[in-house]
Subunit: 105 residues, 2 copies
């Protein structure tokens, strides 16, 4: 299976994608993460295991707690896949250029 295949599969589930997005706020325990979701704790753990297997998340244990953190570099293969088609839309490129320009500063 290609890298982007695993990423598409992993991020296709809305709940799992929401967990990923939520970790954008910063490192968090499973219990923290559970707040705001209507699914059980095992469901959260299962999603985290899937995200970890896909390289989208890393884990750090401390006592009873498991801290999960975003690994945004894991998205690189997906970004690469999308970029292959970006060349088809010249009108959008400008905004991307602007973004890169901002990041230079």
């Amino acid at each position: 299976m290609t890298a982007e295949a695993a990423l598409f599969r992993t991020l296709a589930d809305p709940t799992r994608r929401a967990v990923f997005e939520r970790l954008g706020e910063g490192e968090m325990t499973v219990s923290d993460l559970r707040q705001g979701f209507s699914v059980s704790q095992p469901a959260i753990s299962q999603h985290l295991a899937a995200l970890k297997a896909a390289g989208l998340v890393s884990e750090r244990r401390a006592g009873r707690n498991a801290y999960y953190r975003l690994c945004p570099e894991g998205l690189a293969p997906l970004a690469g896949w999308v970029d292959r088609y970006r060349t088809f839309w010249p009108e959008r490129i400008g905004r991307l250029k602007d973004l890169l320009k901002e990041m230079d500063q």
Copy 2:
């Protein structure tokens, strides 16, 4: 459902994603597309209907034939989602810049 949710769901299936990628070669009929896939003609038609509903493909009828063509702009919401996380990887930005530079020429 958000736009990127529909895109993730639509592109999660490997066969459907392969159909999308194949259309990168250019406009094609369903029969043309069928060659090289091990699934039935209805399966191809169903995938094309899903891609069309997601705005990733457009259709043109001519006699008995249905010509399908890529709509790469349909990927924009997905690209936007990925870009939110691109800011986390400075080391990859260089390659993106190079790509944009090439496209200027």
